[in-house]
Symmetry: C2
Subunit: 791 residues, 2 copies
Amino acid sequence: MTTVSADLVRTLGEPSQEDLDRLDAWWRANNYLTIGQIYLKANPLLREPLTADHIKPRLLGHWGTSPGLSFIYAHVSRLIQHTGQEAIYLAGPGHGGPALVAAGYLEGTYTEHFPGITLDEGGLLKLFRQFSSPGGIPSHVSVTTPGSIHEGGELGYVLVHAFGAVMDNPDLLAIAVVGDGEAETGPLEGSWKGISFINAQRDGAVLPILHLNDGKISGPTVLGRKDPEDVRSLLRGHGYQIIEVSGGDLPGMHQRFAAALAEAYQAIQDKKDGRDDVRWPVIILRSPKGWTGPHEVDGVLVEGTWRAHQVPLSGVRENPEHLKMLEQWLRSYRPEELFDATGAPVALVRDAAPEGNLRMSASPHANGGLLTRDLDMPDFRTYAVDVKVPGAERAESTRRLGEMMRDIYTSSPDRFRLFCPDETNSNRLGAVFEVSDRAFMERTVPGDVKLGPDGRVMEVLSEHNCHGWLEGYNLTGRHGLFATYEAFAMVSASQTVQHGKWLQEAAHLPWRAKVPSLNILLTSTAWRNDHNGFSHQGPGLLQVVLNQRGNVARVYLPPDANTLLSVADHCFRSRSYVNLIVIDKQPQLQYLSMDEAIAHCARGAGIWDWAGTDDGVTDPDIVLACAGDVVTMETVAAAQILKERLPGFKTRVVNVVNLMSLPRPKDHPHGMSEVQFTELFTDTVDVVFAFHGYPGAIHQVVHGRPDADRFRVRGFIEQGTTTTPFDMTVRNKTSRYHLVMDAINNAKRLPRGAADLKAWCEAQLAKHELYVVENLEDMPEVRDWSLAPRG
Amino acid sequence: MTTVSADLVRTLGEPSQEDLDRLDAWWRANNYLTIGQIYLKANPLLREPLTADHIKPRLLGHWGTSPGLSFIYAHVSRLIQHTGQEAIYLAGPGHGGPALVAAGYLEGTYTEHFPGITLDEGGLLKLFRQFSSPGGIPSHVSVTTPGSIHEGGELGYVLVHAFGAVMDNPDLLAIAVVGDGEAETGPLEGSWKGISFINAQRDGAVLPILHLNDGKISGPTVLGRKDPEDVRSLLRGHGYQIIEVSGGDLPGMHQRFAAALAEAYQAIQDKKDGRDDVRWPVIILRSPKGWTGPHEVDGVLVEGTWRAHQVPLSGVRENPEHLKMLEQWLRSYRPEELFDATGAPVALVRDAAPEGNLRMSASPHANGGLLTRDLDMPDFRTYAVDVKVPGAERAESTRRLGEMMRDIYTSSPDRFRLFCPDETNSNRLGAVFEVSDRAFMERTVPGDVKLGPDGRVMEVLSEHNCHGWLEGYNLTGRHGLFATYEAFAMVSASQTVQHGKWLQEAAHLPWRAKVPSLNILLTSTAWRNDHNGFSHQGPGLLQVVLNQRGNVARVYLPPDANTLLSVADHCFRSRSYVNLIVIDKQPQLQYLSMDEAIAHCARGAGIWDWAGTDDGVTDPDIVLACAGDVVTMETVAAAQILKERLPGFKTRVVNVVNLMSLPRPKDHPHGMSEVQFTELFTDTVDVVFAFHGYPGAIHQVVHGRPDADRFRVRGFIEQGTTTTPFDMTVRNKTSRYHLVMDAINNAKRLPRGAADLKAWCEAQLAKHELYVVENLEDMPEVRDWSLAPRG
Ligand SMILES: Cc1ncc(C[n+]2csc(CCOP(=O)(O)OP(=O)(O)O)c2C)c(N)n1
Ligand SMILES: Cc1ncc(C[n+]2csc(CCOP(=O)(O)OP(=O)(O)O)c2C)c(N)n1
Ligand SMILES: [Mg+2]
Ligand SMILES: [Mg+2]
């Protein structure tokens, strides 16, 4: 953070007349451009009287929030000009897209990125016409908006993104405007507490501005109508110091807001200086919704109410009265003072913007790929489990990943964090605590463990915070991992979806540099939440990511530690993906040596010779395929049973690590060729596929492959409770015994003894059922099963 | 709410010695049973010295939260005894399952529902052994726990469930314990504001008890460590009056908590009496995590810290020291005073429980099916759109549903509510406002519209609140609908998942009466969020519900108003399902008369003769199938193009309303027979399927049907932005022109002219692309297209 003198801050708080003129001109220009985007397809500078022909056929966009957003923007720009402060701007009510587009345009950034949108009348017209139109730009503060790291379409995440952006970013100030409607969402209410995790010396600062314009889509808001003392009390309770500005009068509001911003900035400076008695500031801004817009329409009050939310004058094409009001409204900003003869913003307006990278629309922090530095990656082979024989010994695979992350914390101490909802230890990733505490700015007491203001492991019991912080951290160019219980990944599923959409769209914009991928580790999975029960058993997120576009979505199901390490190394180096890694935390069998693991992961899927009885020359009798750790163990065990008890029956075991290797290349860029596919799965032999997630997912990804109907998929079929590990596979018909019976039922050719083996499997299942009820644990032959050479 | 005298409340606040003895005995008994469930498989009453043989092989369960939960429970029971108040108990930290199971057992309810679990030593042993074990009960306060409407597995929803439960339930008091870890989640933080929507006269009361035991799984909590004045300030800001109790001393804590509860109850009484100066109370309870458990283990402090979270003594089977500590711990509750010679709780303990339905574990409110009364349903045919010719006129289908709901509000004024995140009008359901305002207890001002304390339409900008309130309302036996933008239904997807799991499990318990279904209307869909852009375009929830078990999941895609009405009527009458209804709100073509709609919905899917050219005798050349309103229009339009431009080509149009009619009967109870399936889809002709959601969903549901590979699915492939309605279908390759080309490419037989028609389609697409960029709206031939007889 720039250090500035108290004098300077005082100047900031007392704008001169010149300052006011500039501020106001810029704001008027922005409002004018906002309305232009919503309404005009011609006559952009009102050089002729406005007619219905100048009006777009479909009136789209949101006026209500826009003047408030640009008012704040103008004032922050002034602060930047005076202080040289690096800042980015996050608009919670992202539907105020046109205001932020207008800001980028006035700052010149827009033209730099989109050279067709020039700073003249022609450019203006294009700017207006492209808004919300086919082949144009979306209506939200989206990925196409220069300076944005926050779309704001799905409301609720502005503070989590802002807090993530400033972590390990000591020089950055993130201005985060919170809509009062938005403030009603759960994720937003859960995110005020970000300051309990921000270290003023090491991190940057977030300045939340709660914008109480009293309206949302069709009514007032809770905070807008609460006793102001209650609102203050609420934010004070979260730990903030309150600064309040109210009104709609001008220039009074400019003066008061400038003073408020200066006060807030001083408080941030004081925090940075280590003053413990100072609290992080929040500004409560009460200004009318649709400020400076039509006050009354058809005899009904609009300004200051929810009625200003979208397009306050909707009948302009049909209703001459409305058209006249629109013209008056537009002319009230005196465009002739704001744009010169060519249509370019005049100096007074241009001078209101900071220069170069200090323009918020041009901040490299908001195009984080520009600032991304690779991680100093330790060699992942160092953490390998020493596997001499496949399937002989057990290890906790995620522990190895924890060790790897510990060393990334050390080697890249300024650009890597782990985010986890109170489960780092539970998920066996605790090695990171050898080198970093948990971040915690609240009181600590003797006896606390690995906890304190210097910590950089992010633990908060909120999937929304963890996910959103990581997104903010990623989009500003830094790396991390969100580790969570698989089932509760659904809590933040919509964030995964929205971030995926962001990345999908960013890929189309050459000026958006690629950012570190969003890495999500799903552990404590459906199959091994036997101690927690049904609510903790749900592989839903995998299915969600599967439906994202192929340029973004990646799903990995490493079956053991070495494959996990190889996958993780790949993910930490990758850019602009959503990488989903699914593996359980419990001790599990290890199959592949490190070299084998690397080769296996490179292919994405492969035949495990040692597991099957395939001769590699002719087609096997059945293919036993698997993806996911627990089901892989069941598959290997089933193959072993078949090997031992049905000699002459030829099985091939195929393990899939990279789920996206299964679709056709035309459906996903990772999809293997048809030749490779048939080399693994043949083109006629039935495939018994044991899958970690819902069976439908496999039908979905193999669609279009040769005779896809031959895939018989077992997977999680929503059978769960608190029980033993093996019982989970039995309940979901994915146990080794079920797989053996499936293999027999679907094989084209059956040696003698198959019927007996099926009967034996049934008997084993019956035995299991009695055993677990009696002994409250699995049969030893299952519990301790391995491929270890006997004797 | 029972009205009680101030005197009585005073008595409540000053427990006699006898009261204290009873309270404490019950609490000790509960703690004893809690620990027994976690540890013991034999020797349940410690009649012999404890040995390793008495200990379960796997130690599962959560001790830490349990003593706090049962402490509160004991005190509320006493309140009920004194006042006759009807109350239910919701444990936010639902992992305290054993404490609530123990409560039901001590109250006798457990034995009533599970006759095998008797009130004697044998029953005790079974109670202990079944906990967290195969074939037994889950570890959370789940559906098997008498008196529970809240699992608490996925943390964050205790207050939304509690608030939903008391709406229109004036006599009910819902005690909601909030864990301090849980209090960090977004959904929980977003739910304190429930009181801004609760009318003290008409609704019941929620008493939140924030349990600051300072620990979660592996660290302290934000609220546990904040300055207590900040915590008070926070809750005061939400609108509460604060009552605080702290400590671990006994009997002091009993006395102080009894006084706090009395004070809270008095405040609730005052609110009920209409005293505007009184605020809803909240109790902040600070008591040690793992209270009364092992204080230190192996030299490390456990009691009062996160270390008490699960099983504080983990080594009891191997470590004699631990075993001894466990025995001491168990004996510290003096079981010999609590259970008689047969093992039954002694009178002192039994007397601490209220009688009959007043026992919280026996409350009919927590088994809401018992109280469910059917809605007084108006005849849905009344709201029909008059359809004379299919596909000729447009109407806003959801408006009709709004009118139907308006009349349900009137006919069933005490048991129906609509829940919607600030979008009731936007979703065209505003007819409900003719008979009810929005509920709002905050300040209203002149000019406010349909808003006030008497309102019963629930609008809050929080999908989490809307969803959770409806769940609470449903589980206590009342009916409703959650209406939301399709894309943002993913915000509360995990709630849909968890509620589905609840219903899935409830179906196995004969004593759980069926409850009204959770009805979710997804509108403002992916295909018609052309004005909002990509973040608003996501059919994800459909996919989520598809993976729920068949005994619960229902997905309907009515193509027009009359089918919507028929589907809605069915859903409002149904029980214990998750009904997902997907239909857009924009004006859309109407196809079926009411009689046709009813027949179509009854079948779930059917051939639309009037749309195709099928002769009904031989197989058509192609089947054009569709599910979802927009894609149905495209399909009908495609069939029309083929009819007009490719004479002799035989198409069959199949529309699917009930998506669950497609799977095989063995995969879903609604699945049609194979005969019906082939009557619609043939068993060899290719099917071009235009689907509302992600294409993979159709591959998933038709898996196993005859030659499922012949289904060519078009659907939402994550192509979106702000654009025109038709452009959305073009971008996702689901437009009428794409469908025509698909039909030609996949038909077995092609009349002359097919190549020309394909070329024409390509040309139309090219024309469209130019047209929309130039005119910012769709080509008139598409925009105004209908099947209306020309001339
Ligand atoms: C999660 C979510 N639910 C619903 C919506 C639909 N929506 C768009 S804008 C809006 C109102 C926003 O009000 P507020 O935050 O006060 O913004 P402002 O008044 O500044 O426009 C709503 C409900 C949404 N965008 N996101
Ligand atoms: C949404 C969600 N995330 C994570 C978990 C894992 N989890 C189970 S218990 C727990 C800690 C709960 O702490 P608190 O609410 O304070 O309960 P208590 O201290 O009373 O046990 C966590 C994080 C969960 N159950 N739900
Ligand atoms: Mg607002
Ligand atoms: Mg706690």
